[in-house]
Amino acid sequence: MLDVDIKGQVGALALTARFKSEGGVTSLFGQSGAGKTSLTNMIAGLIRPISGRITVNGTTLFDADKNINLAVQARRIGHVFQDARLFPHMSVRSNLTYARWAGRRKTTRSMDEVVQLLGLQPLLSRKPATLSGGERQRVAIGRALLSDPRLLIMDEPLANLDQARRNDILPYLDRLCAEAGIPILYVSHSIEEVARLSQTLVILSDGQTPAYGPVAELLARTDLGKATGRHEAGALLEGTVCHTDSEWGLTHIDIGGATIQIPDLGAAPGEPIRLRIRARDVALATEAPKGLSIRNRLEGTIRSISEESGPYAEILCSVGEQTIRARITRASVADLGLEVGKKVTVLIKSVAIDKRQRAPVPG
């Protein structure tokens, strides 16, 4: 669906990107300065790569060898910019319909549908200057959707928003990613957003793409080190809501062979759900502990231990079909005699799994 293999140069940054994605939501993840915006600008046609190929849905947008380089306006890529870039002299309505009247795009998606999806009805006759940051981004997303795109690029749409505004817009993004029906390339430096929204993850680090693949698989990899962000690193679990214990306000999630209890999220039984368990919130025990407040105690097997030079060790444990990542001290690894294949009890505090770490399963 999306096949990128390019080399380029933007200022001092040499960019070499190679990844494939089978549609759905693909996240391009990397720290500031890693080249995320340069890469999306090349895909969008705003910057010309030096060599390589870009293919979307079977259409070649760029091929240096065959001398193909479609112009920006011919690529049919909906581009949601970090700074929204709404046209300040037009109403929200004219912004939304711009692709139709100025770009001559025939839209398969109806205006009503997009307005509905993003909650834009009350904004239609307003000017961009009167909108809040979150509203602007929603309009920008709607405008891109109405340009009949074959790919939607979202370049850190939440980066300029505060946490409250982010929480306002995230539910819309959940719906968009689930319902858009077109591939989305979602650019972010927040592992939370990536884990929440995407199926495929592409890691970009210093202009290189060291790894790409299914998001759960990549988040469980310990060899990517700082590229995935050490502090926020964690594994992704997918499960189904069993029931909610209203007396204690806990929701029970079946993760395949084991149950996790998390604070009540008001989800209906049977609903699929995705949880991100940060490595630093996970502890390991060699025997079943007694007199402990931690509610989630899962039987697991150590799959790998990677000790780093500092005080930390990253442990991957198999729990049923899924993988949980734990960060503990190297000292504990030594004291407990942890080794690959050893049975352990994986301990996760329920309260560590807050609202930001969970989301409906995308797609």
């Binding site: 969008a44 705003l46 112009a71 920006v72 306006q73 690529r75 049919r76 890529i77 909906g78 581009h79 910019f81 700074d83 870039r85 046209f87 300040p88 002299h89 711009y98 692709a99 100025a102 770009g103 001559r104 795009r105 000017k127 961009p128 200057a129 009167t130 405008r143 891109a144 340009s147």
Partner: protein
């Protein structure tokens, strides 16, 4: 009451001035918009030379500009003779020549504010427009041009004012012919050269002031409406 009615010669000078200034603006403004956009958005070899050429009439003595025009666009000048033979257009000693001189003199005054207003429009908005399918020209016409309109209006007013008052280049290039090239400024000059011309000069001064004042007020009203349409919240 006689004092308030315009005499035929005054009418003639006033109408001629307006015609010359309007013609100068009509031809020079689109050209100024293009040159200003080019200078604002593109870095090309010779950028500095083009910029200097545009500003030359501003720093040269107007008589020099008029003389250069006379050499180039005169009946036997290299440009003038070609234009006359192929298109039948003559500039020399003709009101169109006055308009040409006024346009050339007004050109730098128009380019400057228009260029500044183009530079104030974020070029990334055009990227956004193109990502939505708009061709380069369409994105310019629908996004950049309307956003730069207040600056273009400012340039147009400045240019119109300069064209109305142009003197040195005009008299050098097309001389001072009543009904053909004698604009208000030239008529005023003629009056001051006559021993009995004080009253005439005074009347012409008042006419020129009223026209200029009216144009300023009209443009201010227009600018206010434009800002309101473009600005959104703050207007």
């Amino acid at each position: 009451m006689d004092f308030l009615t315009l005499q035929p010669a005054e009418w003639q000078a006033l109408l001629l001035t307006l015609r010359v200034a309007a013609a100068a603006l009509l031809v020079a403004l689109p050209l100024a918009v293009m040159v200003a956009y080019g200078l604002a958005r593109y870095r090309f070899p010779g950028h500095g030379v083009v910029n200097a050429l545009v500003h030359l009439p501003l720093v040269l003595p107007p008589v020099v500009t008029g003389y250069v025009l006379l050499l180039a666009f005169g009946r036997n000048g290299p440009v003038g003779s070609v234009l006359r033979e192929t298109f039948g257009i003559t500039f020399a000693f003709n009101w169109t020549g006055a308009a040409l001189a006024a346009g050339v003199m007004a050109f730098p005054l128009m380019v400057r504010p228009i260029r500044l207003s183009f530079e104030a429009v974020d070029p990334k908005l055009e990227d956004a427009a193109r990502s939505l399918g708009a061709l380069r020209l369409v994105s310019f016409l629908t996004v950049t041009l309307p956003l730069a309109l207040p600056g273009i209006l400012g340039g147009a007013i400045l240019g119109f004012a300069k064209a109305m008052g142009e003197f040195g280049a005009t008299i050098t290039f097309v001389s001072n012919i009543p009904g053909e090239t004698r604009t208000l400024a030239l008529a005023l000059y003629t009056a001051t050269q006559s021993p009995s011309g004080d009253v005439a000069a005074f009347r012409l001064t008042i006419i020129a002031t009223i026209v200029a004042f009216g144009a300023l007020i009209a443009s201010e009203l227009l600018a206010r409406r434009l800002r309101k349409r473009l600005g959104g919240a703050d207007a």
